[in-house]
């Protein structure tokens, strides 16, 4: 089941979102239902778990564990359906705050700091992948374990300090890391020439101000393209 969690988004679509992936991930456990793979209980459970489900892909491991346990405990299907509906939002919220808004940017800033400190680009990429995926895989392992252990009463596990205070702690750490990383990165990118450093800092400051002004009014990918364009332009000018 843990390995199958890595394929959760493989069948993503607008109708069932990751519902099919959820059923696929817990399918090995459902084989233990009365009648095995040819039984009615197995077929009903697969059909039930393949319906619409949408949550953060890493935290969905919690739902996989909890729902697999509920199915094997022969819980009332109405209660299972209610849990599926109710868990989508909170698992999405916790995952988005912890991973997309805190862990991923913190890992990115750490990689930039490593670049600024003189690591080769290959080492920087490797460092980012190792650190980010260590957190990502750990979250899936914990989620599956917590879901399986607590079953449908898994809400208490989401009250752990990692999920309640973790996002704000990580965000503060991110600010500190980014504050150290940016001057180091600029210094390395521009060499030691003061004019080069000044141009990059000016472009960066203007970009930062623009992003603050645009918060909530422009999609992230559009903002990222602007930042990338400004960075490349500044890099060409400086070189």
């Amino acid at each position: 089941m843990l390995a199958r969690l890595l394929t959760l988004q493989g069948s993503y679509n607008y109708e069932t979102m990751i519902g099919n992936g959820l059923a696929f991930a817990m399918e090995p456990a459902l084989r233990l239902l009365p009648g095995g793979r040819n039984g009615a209980a197995y077929r009903d459970a697969i059909a039930r778990q393949s319906r619409y489900f949408n949550a953060h892909p890493y935290l969905a491991a919690v739902a996989v564990g909890a729902l697999a346990r509920a199915e094997l405990s022969l819980e009332d299907p109405a209660r299972i359906e209610r849990f599926r509906t109710a868990s989508c939002g909170p698992l999405g919220s916790v995952g988005d705050r912890l991973v997309w808004a805190a862990w991923l940017p913190a890992c990115s800033a750490t990689a930039l700091a490593a670049f600024g400190l003189g690591l080769s680009w290959q080492a920087v990429v490797l460092l980012f992948l190792l650190v980010y995926n260590a957190g990502h895989v750990a979250l899936r392992v914990w989620g599956l374990y917590a879901g399986w252990t607590h079953g449908l009463a898994v809400a208490s596990a989401l009250g752990a300090p990692l999920f309640r205070q973790g996002p704000s702690v990580l965000t503060r750490a991110l600010a500190g890391i980014a504050g150290a990383a940016i001057p180091l990165m600029v210094a390395r990118a521009a060499g030691t020439r003061p004019l080069g450093v000044a141009i990059i800092v000016a472009v960066g400051a203007a970009g930062g101000l623009a992003l603050v002004q645009l918060e909530g009014r422009v999609a992230g990918w559009r903002a990222a393209i602007w930042v990338l364009t400004a960075f490349i332009t500044a890099g060409v000018l400086v070189r």
């Binding site: 909170p90 809400a155 208490s156």
Partner: protein, 162 residues
């Protein structure tokens, strides 16, 4: 500041709400209106865990939400009201004339619903209820995130396919 956004979203509290809208609006409270959730301990606990600690969360039935609307309106900080379906929002609009705009943020696939946008699938009953909300002079738009283009109800109902 009171309630800045009245949103219909079948996932209720999730990332788009607490981060996508929560950060730009600087949300300090959420009113979750759902008769089933209000009466279920474990569901309330689950939604509470999905809400940032600095945001107050109120669970209300449709009836109690209407009764407490003046209290929420008097709060000095910005808030957001959520329902999981159009019918509940329609009943709220019946009981509260202060609602001037309703946001359709996410109604996903279910039997009997047809796709209008990738994040909006509507049943015939939903369409009737949305038209009745609009008939009261309330602006109805579909918009999942602040940076997305809002889709007016008239355009939403003519769209076909995800």
């Amino acid at each position: 500041m009171a309630i800045e956004l009245y949103r219909v979203d079948d996932r209720l509290i999730h990332g788009q709400v607490v981060i996508g809208w929560g950060h730009p609006l600087a949300l300090r409270f959420i009113v979750l209106v759902d008769d089933n959730v209000a009466g279920s301990d474990w569901e309330r606990e689950l939604y509470r865990m999905g809400t940032p600690p600095e945001v107050d969360l109120y669970f209300e039935t449709t009836e109690s939400a209407v009764a407490r609307m003046p209290e929420f309106a008097a709060r000095p900080d910005p808030g957001l009201l959520l329902t999981a379906d159009v019918a509940t929002m329609s009943r709220l609009c019946d009981g509260c004339t202060a609602i001037r705009e309703v946001n359709i943020g996410g109604l996903h696939h279910r039997a009997g619903r047809s796709p209008c946008l990738p994040y909006v699938f509507l049943s015939a009953e939903d369409e009737v209820a949305l038209k009745s909300i609009a008939a009261r002079g309330v602006r109805v738009i579909a918009q999942d995130l602040p940076a997305s283009d809002p889709v007016e109800l008239g355009d939403l109902l003519t769209k076909d396919g995800a």
